[in-house]
């Protein structure tokens, strides 16, 4: 069930990442790395999707292990998308790093456990929170962190 919710939030971004954009912007293999240059608004939408997904996971009636697995799955998708979707503007890249950064700190583990989740939240708290002061962030991001904390500690 949780997989369906994740896909509802991510189907758009995953599909977008898999095809060439309609306006002709490049996407593919270049010097061994995959990337597409996309508009800032698209990147922001992906972040908003991630935030919404975490919201839904937190509010779901699932067991703690299922929630952790869903968070891990979400992270993996965000990570892949973020790594291959670039902006021309360094300012946008910087903001997105602040927003998605904690996802990238998420440990890649075969068996995603409560301890990993707690490590993740701790990283997030140390590395993300202090750097966002005065920087405009997307609505709902701080709520997402609270949800995450509840999931990790739950």
């Amino acid at each position: 069930m949780y997989a369906a919710i994740i896909f509802a939030a991510f189907i758009t971004s995953s599909a977008t990442a898999a095809v060439k954009l309609s306006d002709g912007r490049e996407f593919g293999i270049s010097m061994g790395f995959r990337h597409q240059v996309i508009a800032d608004e698209q990147l922001r939408q992906v972040v908003a999707s991630a935030v919404a997904t975490i919201d839904r996971i937190a509010k779901s009636p699932w067991k703690a292990e299922q929630k952790l697995a869903a968070i891990h799955d979400t992270y993996q998708k965000v990570k892949v998308y973020r790594a291959t979707s670039w902006s021309r503007s360094p300012a946008t890249e910087m903001k997105l790093d602040m927003l998605i950064g904690p996802y990238e700190s998420f440990p890649v583990a075969n068996n995603f456990k409560k301890q990993h989740c707690q490590n993740y939240y701790s990283t997030l708290k140390n590395e993300w929170e202090p750097t966002t002061k005065g920087v405009p962030t997307l609505n709902g991001v701080s709520r997402a962190w609270n949800n995450l904390r509840a999931i990790c500690e739950g």
Partner: protein, 481 residues
Amino acid sequence: MKNVILILTFLVLITNCVSKQPITIIFPDQEKEDARKPSGFFDFFKKKEPIVTLMKCVNCTTPYSEPNTVQLETEKSCTSDRLYYQDRFKKISNVYKLKRDNFPEANFPEGCVVHIMRSAGAYDTESPYLTQCASEDSAPIRESDKIKAHKLACTTSEYAYSTYNAFVDVMDCLDIPQRELLPKIWNESQFHTNMYGKGDDAGVGQLTGDAIQEVIKQKYADHEITELDYFKAEMRKSNKPSCNRILAEPSAWKIIGAKPATRCGIMTPEANPLRNILYTAVFYRVITARITGIYYRAGKEYIRTADGFIDRSENKNAPLGGRVKEYQLIEKMQALGIQNPNMDFLKQVLVSLAFNAGSNQAVKVFDNFLKTKIANNLTVTEAELDFINANSLRDKPLIDIPDGETEEAKVERETKLAEARSQAFDRNLPQFLRLMQNGGSPGYVSKIAFRTTKLNNEIGAGLCTQPSFLQHSLPQAQPQQ
């Protein structure tokens, strides 16, 4: 009563003359007398003692030393309010506190460390950053309404050699280029064990709680072994004399808590400065492994690959792993026209930045530099990667917050800053990092480059610095801070 005071005064003067302690004179023909005036009542009775000259230099004059000469201070040449740790320095083991006549591991002179220590100021006035610890298990005592700050601890032979010997031993044992960290430490603590920053960053390495946590954390999730334990075990395998000397100092290996309440554990002598320098080097190794995939095993560096380990001493430019590989930084540099990326340069920049801004931020900001160049169809030259020569100051006025800035001026500055950030793809790497570094001190790597050039200019080119440090190629010139 008057007569008694006169007799006592006479006795003190006589005792001082008779009990003059012999000291180590490195160059007896260069002995000079310190012209310093006493600051306390009892300082008046101190017998002036020859100070010790370590080396001549290009342009390195510091207070109370001969022009262009690096000199140690002595217990008797320092005022009493600078001797607050001297008794503890004297308790440090002879292996560390005495000058070593035979020290083949050292590849830079002690004068480099002493010059950095003596450039810290606070000879005649107190610094709020210089603190004192009551014990190892306490918090450093900061300046307050009731407590006075401290002056610079007297750079005696015991203090200087316990710092220099510990630094060289730890760097040699852990296979860290000895001169690579000198400019960084100048920029941080200036090698003073009681330097305590506003962010609770402590001692020689200015270690924060997060940095200490990296050292004492479990190396493997399901094992009790800490990072410190791991390095101890690997050092045992090395058979290096430097490692053996560190292993023979049990106090260096004590686990120190990461909370500020116990920060003195990595500050107070006699266990420090050795313990602090050991923690600093382990922290360096932990973040280096994370960022570059370079691991320490039995005294040497290896790069972990899918097929095993590559000995870095046999292949210095073997492609890095870790986050460098994960973020495909080498491929991105090649896409931008740097055909043969310099692995040492990558390691130096990323690890230097990680010390200040964290591992994740260091890699991300460097990655963003490369990505936004590629996204804008630009190329990069080696000159744009040169922290020693390139001008990094272009956007500094937008980043530095002026004293007394009005709300109107702030809005104007921040608007210009946002515009500069959106256009930062046209900056060189030092400019980009200053503008886009998120967290820590903007321009941190450029500040280390500045200290590198300062060392070259003040002590002599190449004596205290790593060749081509923070340069993708080899030219030398003057960086701006």
